[in-house]
Symmetry: C2
Subunit: 116 residues, 2 copies
């Protein structure tokens, strides 16, 4: 019997721009954990340039930047989430978990139609 | 002021296979409306082969096929959703709409952090 899973993957659009989505949320989570964009890019198997661009897109879409570079220090510069960035991540995760909870009966019914 | 949108894009996994997601749901909706896989592929800007494979994947994941070919007729063969296919589409759309409803406060708070 195979395991069934329902994965919520929200996209937040601001006009035509994707302000936030699963990839960007994962990147914020990783910056929060590692304090480094370089390390986060490696973890998520993307180039440093791509990770940088994702942060830039978010920073353009939100009133306040979600992440800022930190200069100096032993590690030679890192990146950290701002208060806005932490709040954005938290709200995104709340939207995901409330979505899975709300899927209740429909998801149970859908699972019954899947093969075991 | 740019318009903000929250797009739910659920994925239903059966083991490692994606049984259903935004693209497959859109394809089911189009087959429902057009009665044709060829026409649906054109609408969704994908090759006939790709559309065919998406249907095959769904048919492998669900107990009953979601769509079946219809032979004969003036149009030279079409495709229609089965009862299971219509039900699967309906449940997926219910999951999406309940997710957006449930996002309530978190989504409102997140929007306040976006630029106007």
């Amino acid at each position: 019997m195979k395991e069934n899973k329902l994965l919520p993957r929200f996209r937040v659009l601001r006009g035509a721009a994707i302000a936030l989505g699963p990839g960007k949320a994962e990147l914020l989570q990783s910056i929060l954990e590692t304090g480094s964009l370089n390390e986060s890019a490696r973890r998520l198997d993307m180039s440093y340039m791509r990770a940088w661009k994702l942060v830039q897109t978010m920073n353009k879409c939100f009133r306040e930047p979600v992440a800022v570079s930190e200069r100096g220090g032993k590690s030679g510069g890192g990146m950290k989430l701002t208060d806005t960035g932490r709040r954005v991540l938290e709200l995104y995760q709340q939207i995901e978990s409330s979505a899975v909870k709300a899927s209740g009966t429909s998801w149970r019914d859908l699972q019954k139609l899947l093969k075991d």
